[in-house]
Assembly symmetry: C2
Homo-oligomer: 344 residues x 2
């Protein structure tokens, strides 16, 4: 059973998942394995469906085939369990059971076609799948936050080459998310405006960090980027919660996601990257009032972050959270803007 732990110094939850554990010798540098299984043995390829745990969801294709599949992660960081087991048994420390879920979204039947290579119709189906699964997991009273992310490339943490994203639901709101929610709330209370909308307007006005702006979305490199070519995609219209995205916005998101990842791939030669959806936490049911939920955090603003993994994170970043970025985001945006993107 995975476990959630929090200590009083960092005040940060950590998932201890010994089901994924190894012996010390497995960590030895010389033992590192390659992650790219040959397609004949890939559990995410069509015809290998029995290699994954039982399917949770699919978008069917023709003649019994599928276009997107969702399956449980075979080595889950979080697991279903009948009780949370919150406890102070460790005195100064906080501990609870790692109750949650860990799903894998298989984005396409094609083993080696990533988002920039797929038709935009397929990328739209991926976005649709994200919405369906998040809506479902946000209904669970035990889950406080649902994380959607994608690791592309071994250096970005992908253990299988076949294009996929992951969804983890946890019974806690991670500290960094909590910090951002609080910052957004304080800003709103002071200014009566959304912090993220303000940042986006500043960026559109200056233009120097804009990669692309469409009717519904803006892609730009943050002023305080930690990493070279780090970028974010904001919905232009204020929206605190991703799953409320309308049909037209889904198409637009699919398009800008495909175009942005094409820029990265073209400029940097298929770099490893991570995508993270920053979204509002789940609403909490209010005890004693069935069907009545506490106010959602309307002052938050959902967005996607894309982080290419080009530089090694060195020692003091881990200790202090102070990052050195050799690539000014204005230059990164200009390089990315200048990439010629083919029309779909």
């Amino acid at each position: 059973m995975p476990e959630l732990r929090r200590g009083p110094i960092t005040e940060r939850w950590v998932i201890i998942a010994p089901e994924r554990a190894k012996r010390p010798s497995d960590y030895r540098t010389e033992d590192k394995k390659e992650n790219s299984r040959p397609p004949s043995n890939c559990p995410f390829c069509p015809g290998k469906e029995e290699m994954t745990p039982p399917e949770i969801y699919r978008i069917p294709g023709e003649d019994g085939s599928w276009r997107v599949r969702v399956v449980p992660n075979k080595f889950p960081a979080m697991q279903d369990y009948p009780e949370l087991g919150r406890t102070a048994v460790d005195g100064i420390y906080d501990r609870m059971n790692g109750v949650g879920t860990h799903e894998v979204v298989i984005e396409t039947p094609s083993h080696d076609k990533e988002i920039p290579d797929l038709p935009v119709e397929q990328v739209k189906l991926i976005v649709d799948t994200y919405v369906v699964r998040l809506q479902e997991l946000m209904k669970n009273d035990w889950y406080r936050y649902v994380l959607l992310f994608k690791n592309h490339g071994k250096q970005a943490g992908a253990s299988l080459a076949h294009p996929h994203s992951q969804i983890i639901a946890t019974p806690v709101v991670p500290r960094r998310v909590r910090d951002r929610l609080q910052t957004a709330r304080e800003y709103y209370e002071r200014k009566e405006r959304c912090l993220f909308c303000d940042v986006m307007l500043m960026e559109l006005k200056s233009g120097e960090r804009i990669i692309e702006a469409t009717d519904d979305f803006v892609a730009f490199t943050p002023y305080d980027s930690r990493f070279p070519f780090e970028l974010v995609i904001y919905p232009r219209k204020h929206a605190h919660e991703f799953t409320q995205i309308c049909e037209e916005q889904r198409w637009e998101l699919a398009r800008i996601l495909k175009r942005t990842l094409f820029r990265l791939k073209h400029l940097l030669g298929d770099p490893p990257y991570n995508i993270v959806l920053h979204n509002s936490p789940n609403p909490i049911p209010r005890p004693g009032k069935p069907g009545y939920w506490t106010t959602l955090q309307y002052d938050y603003h959902w967005r996607m972050a894309i982080i290419p993994r080009l530089t090694l994170v060195a020692g003091f970043e881990w200790g202090t959270g102070l990052y050195i970025n050799p690539m000014p985001p204005e230059d990164a945006a200009r390089y990315l803007r200048e990439v010629e993107v083919p029309e779909d």
Copy 2:
């Protein structure tokens, strides 16, 4: 000139250091260079002293040789400059000049002898050098925080193989350090006790995460370890500031550092790792009262963290700060404890 930036969403300072910049093509995966120069061309080896910028400090050896050298980093993240240039010119964003310093401590003349291979006398000289340089840099009114860290191995961010550590002084206190200082202060105000002393006592009482305890220091794996085999070394006697370490404690620190790094090396086969010193920020001179300094943060507790770099940090860690650790710290401590360490 490097630049410090802070945005209103993360409220975290980032160093933008374009002097270290590269063109996009330099980031292409296939172009990654090896870092281990042959000793004949190593700028940190004896006889190559003219390859480094002018020396800041040395512990001399016999006949004009040296035992430890401190030199400026050739590609500094921070630079000396006559003004801080704090500015709100970017509206919602904060910016100031990257005024500071970036030094390299060359730990030994031997190109391939790391701390576990050195005589403890040499490790003690390294500790002495840390104290001398930190004392010097903490006197500078402009610097608010002095970071001491070591990257060992390419995967841990070391760009040169010759054993060295680094010191960066910045005009700001990094957000994560500020968060910890505040947590320590709030705990002290509530309990009238040091948070770190309490954690250490809990650990000594339970013993399950202790690697080694000497008269002056305790090495243990934190309850909420983010990474496999992550560990910390605490001074047993409460001390908020590292440079006040006495002669006997320096010897003890050299010994436990050597022994702990030997354990890691023996168990994990010379893994890449980072060491970070967590210390109090610099005192601030009080305006109008020459020679009078604001109270130091006596409720803080200095310590060293050692983080082996064995697992890749995947997508959602970057976005949320929520980490998955497959190695329970109790198991990690047991493995490390069981390593037989030769007597010095």
